[in-house]
Point group: C2
Chain length 310, copies 2
């Protein structure tokens, strides 16, 4: 199967490299030098897997072979721009979103009539250069249908991922998994962004009244009450996801913390913003997530010249 990854950060690079083992793997990049490096050197994977992967890269969809599957792997903050680049191209392709938060599918939909596939991924990697990615957590990607996409197509994609060496599972309804990750991310990412702490044992400590785990637990509980109001039965308990992740050894730096350290826009709008909007839509209170949403937005405003701009 011919595939095309849009946005080759750490996650996108991991998909593109693995998919080269089961078909022609293309990469749509923003920077011409990124595409040139990939065409020249291919992708090198180290860490959990070690191999070299040939890929075909370009900055214009018109220069690439038409793929059957497009994986939009940009950050949430780059999604609008990536989707607009795809507009008018590859009408028969399946387009898969893997962004954090909620609402990525709707953003892509505004730019074309592709059949859509939702995904959430728990794998992680570190991009050492444009052509070298380290595979750190070889955890699953969960895929599910969006709107009228036949479930058989979703199962086909999950099978393709597994054949390529990645962990994957098809789910008839992705929302329970998406919401589990949403609540986990809204909690862990915003607390990390505000405190400067990586996702370490503080997040699970609940013994003393001032222990951070108590706030984390309260945020998770509040998120779960929003899920209940939205009629979602969670796939995993976000508190258990949190506790497990903090026991993994080396502490992970959540992306929102990386963003505020680098003084970039964060994904807060699609993550914590989604929890706040869902709470409002379903008539439940979410005062803690609302507070953290306001604080992270204000933190962005403290370093971004045009805080009000998109």
């Amino acid at each position: 199967m011919t595939t095309c990854v849009v946005g080759a950060g750490a996650i996108g690079s991991l998909y593109a490299a693995h998919l080269s083992r089961v078909g022609e793997s293309c990469v749509l990049t923003r920077r011409p030098e990124h595409a040139a490096a990939l065409n020249g050197d291919g992708l090198r994977v180290t860490g959990r897997h070690e191999f070299a992967a040939p890929v075909t890269a370009g900055t214009d969809p018109g220069d690439l072979p038409a793929p059957e599957l497009v994986i939009v792997a940009t950050k949430a903050t780059g999604l609008e721009s990536a989707a607009s680049t795809l507009a008018g191209h590859w009408p028969d392709a399946l387009v898969m979103t893997i962004q954090n938060g909620l609402g990525a599918e709707d953003i892509v939909r505004r730019h074309g009539d592709w059949k859509l596939v939702s995904a959430v991924t728990f794998m992680s990697g570190t991009k050492h250069s444009d052509t070298h990615v380290e595979y750190i957590l070889d955890t699953e990607t969960w895929v599910g249908p969006w709107e009228n996409t036949p479930y058989a197509r979703v199962e086909e994609i999950a099978a393709l991922f597994v054949e390529s060496g990645l962990e994957a599972e098809a789910l008839p309804d992705l929302r329970p998994a998406q919401w589990s990750k949403l609540i986990f991310n809204a909690t862990v990412n915003s607390v990390a962004a505000l405190t400067g702490l990586p996702h370490d044992s503080h997040f699970a400590a609940e013994e003393e009244p001032a222990d951070l785990g108590r706030l984390v637990h309260a945020l998770v509980d509040e998120g779960k009450s929003v899920a209940v109001a939205a009629g979602i039965e969670l796939h995993d308990d976000p508190w258990e996801m949190n506790v497990l992740a903090t026991r993994r050894g080396s502490a992970h730096y959540p992306s929102m913390l990386e963003d505020v350290v680098a003084r970039r826009a964060t994904e807060v709008e699609l993550i914590t913003g989604a929890v706040v909007r869902e709470a409002e839509k379903h008539g439940v209170e979410a005062p803690l997530h609302t507070a953290l949403y306001g604080l992270v937005k204000a933190k962005e405003a403290s370093y971004m010249a045009l805080a009000g701009s998109e």
Copy 2:
């Protein structure tokens, strides 16, 4: 009247300099070179007032003349150590506390039987060197009795401050003013510490759902409900204090923000911690202040090597 200021930061230096105009003004410092500089050069005040003030300084209470009034002007984080230095000295002196938050009087009380005076001050200054302080906001110091201190003594102190050129007022019960400042500080200081924003117009903006002023207002309202539960009728509305302060022109950098930027311990324990403890004591909920308390403590933990130590 002989007076002694303990801890000559910006506020302590402003008291010591002004009080030299109405009696012998002594300063107890921690650093010997600080005392030597003050003995050699005196204090220079610029800004709202411009004058030079002779002071007598030392690092040991035993080396200084016995004062009638001691003003403990350290930050809340230095109070325990300052009070222990005074233990066993000057039993006839009045000791005045001006720390942010609640509980300073109790800390001093544990080290001696002095008659105590409570104070809150709204003046501000910038210390340019050990012997030069700029007087920026010439706002009032409010003083009140603590335990069985006769109110006449409090009025005497307020009159002394006014005679020295400072703004001051005696209040039979200081708690309404102390709580107004407590709620203001718990809100503004912790939001500033977490977001990196100085106390600017963001804190008063309430138009859009994500505007920071909405969170600030909710924090103030929660603080006011704690005050009601504690039986305190506030002297000033902390929300109005907030709005007024943001209109002052140049944005103020709250001390907790300065502390986290300099990676020092903050006063969160005596400020936000006091709100949280009072809420618990009086059986009301304070989820937002509790959240901010946990976040600021976690932020301290992110940069302090021995986060658990005192």
